[in-house]
């Protein structure tokens, strides 16, 4: 069943159960929602509400127990591991709360990694890395290794890596969790700017008030179900 490709993510009745110490946990209970291009949305809710599980299911990192997810019109449950990898590589950028950079690669090598997987030539990779580093205010940091950067700088590099291949959607799981409010606010402003200027969609999973304030759309999750889905004025 094909879906409108302007809808980046379409999820239909997603259920995710998993076992923890022989107890079945109902993490997501029948969630329907759509992420459109240019969305700047946040899935919010307390810890254990199923935010990260939902994010994993819609990005193909996890398999729902039941329900369907379309990513840019492709039904992900019908895709092989290799096809899913390629689909994520070309359409989704990931930002995790723990910075997730490869410590043995320089800033430039970390950012260019996805482009390398996409087969972008070296010259073009270098040009785009320098351009994005300038955009995120880390020009001149390309040869540094992640441990030589502050937490905020590392998260900027992680954002740069997620953005550099110009994916349709960036999924950010608690991106400000390890940052102070000033740094977090600066990064969110930067992401919102990118959303407005480049039309890149963002979907956050968070319980940080700062992210909720900056998001244009809030999807409130409670006990694995959507309690509220609202576009802010």
């Amino acid at each position: 069943m094909a879906k409108n490709t302007e809808d980046i993510i379409v999820s239909k009745d997603i259920v995710k159960n998993y076992k923890e110490d022989s107890v079945v946990v109902h993490a997501v209970r029948g969630v329907d929602f759509t992420i459109h291009s240019s969305d700047f949305a946040a899935i919010v809710g307390p810890s254990g509400s199923g935010k990260t599980t939902l994010l994993n299911c819609i990005s193909g990192l996890d398999t729902p127990t039941s329900g369907k997810v379309w990513l840019k019109g492709n039904l992900i449950s019908e895709m092989s591991g290799k096809q899913l990898s390629d689909l994520r590589r070309d359409n989704i950028g990931f930002i995790f709360q723990a910075y997730n950079l490869i410590p043995v690669l320089t800033v430039e090598e970390n950012i260019e990694y996805i482009m390398l997987l996409q087969g972008v030539d070296k010259k073009e990779r270098h040009r785009r890395v320098l351009q994005i580093l300038e955009e995120i205010g880390l020009k001149g940091f390309e040869d540094r290794f992640p441990p030589q950067l502050s937490g905020g700088q590392q998260q900027r590099v992680a954002i740069a890596r997620a953005m550099v291949s110009q994916p349709a959607l960036i999924l950010a799981d608690e991106p400000t969790a390890n940052l102070d409010s000033k740094t977090g606010s600066g990064l969110l402003d930067m992401m919102r700017e990118l959303n407005e200027q480049e039309g890149m969609s963002f979907l956050f999973s968070t319980h940080d008030q700062l992210v909720m304030d900056k998001a244009k759309r809030l999807i409130v999750l409670k006990d694995g179900q959507i309690e509220k889905d609202e576009i802010k004025g």
Partner: protein, 408 residues
């Protein structure tokens, strides 16, 4: 591919201490393998040398079936033609004719049965080491017609020393009648070979031929070739040429087939050592790779999340194993070279050790060969790659969401 190689190489140095310990463990295994190989090559050369230089020679000519029956009548056919042919043969460096008989040797104190060899003292020097192993007295001289050489153990048994007289009794070839000679001990040899030191005596060939009633009769011709490797071939022009007139020529592997079995056993032993060492290597590598894998589960999960295919993760793990193998091989080659080189200088004293009919008569020195530093490291490398397939498959199969959740 190059990117993964760079990433793999840098990854193994993230935990330098662990890489060093694992690399050293594998390196010690490789060094042990190199050393064992060198030791076995040295042992093999030593055994061949012990066998061929001490008395057997690299080839022998006998009358057909003489070796099986040891009958004294079975002397070499057309001996003068054989000798003349040996003199003209380009492959032959030295040769020595021998007359052989079972005998009884008697001293005032004791009596003992043995094999007595009639030798040409000058020619014998070039094919055996009896002259070099004289413990007391002198080797047979041209002028000492009635001299006899006996081994150290036999001298002790007979309670004789240099200059003492002994009676040698043999059975004559044609008549079967006993023939006796009183001989004087010219010298006492000590070869470390028990069979020789207790069970052999040497006298002049002409004297023994007279005693046996076989004037000019030869039972055996021992040969040394210009190139020792020549004797290792199964069929040679030498054996073909001298296996005629009712005679048979054989190279030392045919004369001592048990030695070939020993060498096969040696190769098998080396394989066992290799298997044990590779067993250690397996656990070293699997342990290191799995530790590294579980430590970096989140990182691998992130790589998978951003679009790295499972095959990419597998490649990365295999390349990390390859990088670890390179480090281990460098350590192993250095350790192996140093250890083997030291032993090639000091040697190991196995003299007197009897093994499969061959007695070590010289110090054992390991022999280094380029092959040991190429073949074994390549095997370790290939084996490491092979072993890394298991952790690589495990990493490739990981569930990204689980890995991300567990790591967080």
């Amino acid at each position: 591919m190059f990117y993964y190689m760079k990433l793999a190489w840098r990854n193994i140095f993230r935990n330098k201490r662990r890489t060093f310990i694992a690399g050293t463990a594998i390196g010690i295994g490789l060094a042990a393998l190199i050393f064992t190989d060198a030791l076995f090559v040295g042992m093999k050369e030593n055994m061949i040398d012990s066998v061929t230089s001490s008395f057997l020679g690299e080839a022998q000519i006998h009358r057909e079936n003489y070796r099986q029956t040891q009958e004294v009548e079975k002397t070499i056919q057309k001996p003068s033609e054989v000798i003349s042919s040996l003199k003209d043969n380009e492959q032959v460096q030295h040769f020595a004719p021998r007359a052989i008989s079972y005998a009884m040797i008697t001293s005032p104190a004791n009596v003992h049965s043995l094999i007595v060899y009639g030798i040409d003292p000058d020619r014998e020097k070039s094919v055996s080491e009896i002259d070099e192993n004289m413990a007391e007295g002198n080797y047979l001289q041209k002028e000492t017609e009635r001299g006899i050489l006996i081994g150290k153990e036999l001298a002790e048994l007979l309670e004789v020393t240099v200059g003492d007289r002994l009676v040698v009794t043999v059975s004559q070839a044609q008549t079967g009648q006993l023939s006796q000679e009183m001989l004087r001990v010219s010298g006492i040899f000590h070869t470390y070979i028990k069979e020789m030191d207790k069970g052999m005596a040497f006298m002049k060939i002409t004297r023994l031929q007279d005693m046996l009633g076989l004037p000019g009769g030869i039972h055996e011709v021992t040969v040394q070739f210009t190139n020792s490797d020549y004797a290792l071939q199964k069929e040679t022009s030498f054996t073909q040429h001298f296996s005629r007139f009712g005679n048979e020529a054989a190279n030392w592997p045919q004369l001592m087939p048990q030695m070939i079995f020993v060498f096969q056993m040696t190769n098998f032993s080396l394989s066992i050592v290799a298997v044990i060492i590779f067993g250690v290597v397996i656990f070293g590598i699997i342990n290191t790779l799995f530790m590294s894998l579980y430590e970096r589960m989140f990182e691998f999960a992130v790589l998978r999340a951003v679009g790295t295919r499972p095959s990419g993760i597998r490649k990365l793990i295999i390349m990390e194993a390859g990088s670890l193998a390179v480090v281990s091989i460098i350590i192993g080659i250095i350790l192996g070279f140093v250890l083997t080189f030291i032993m090639t200088q000091t040697g190991i004293d196995y003299r007197g050790l009897d093994f499969a009919g061959a007695t070590m008569t010289q110090m054992l020195y390991p022999v280094m060969e380029i092959r040991q530093f190429i073949v074994h490291p390549i095997l370790v490398f290939l084996f490491t790659i092979l072993v890394s397939v298991y952790p690589a498959l495990t990493a490739g199969k990981m569930k990204v969401a689980d890995a991300l959740r567990r790591s967080l």
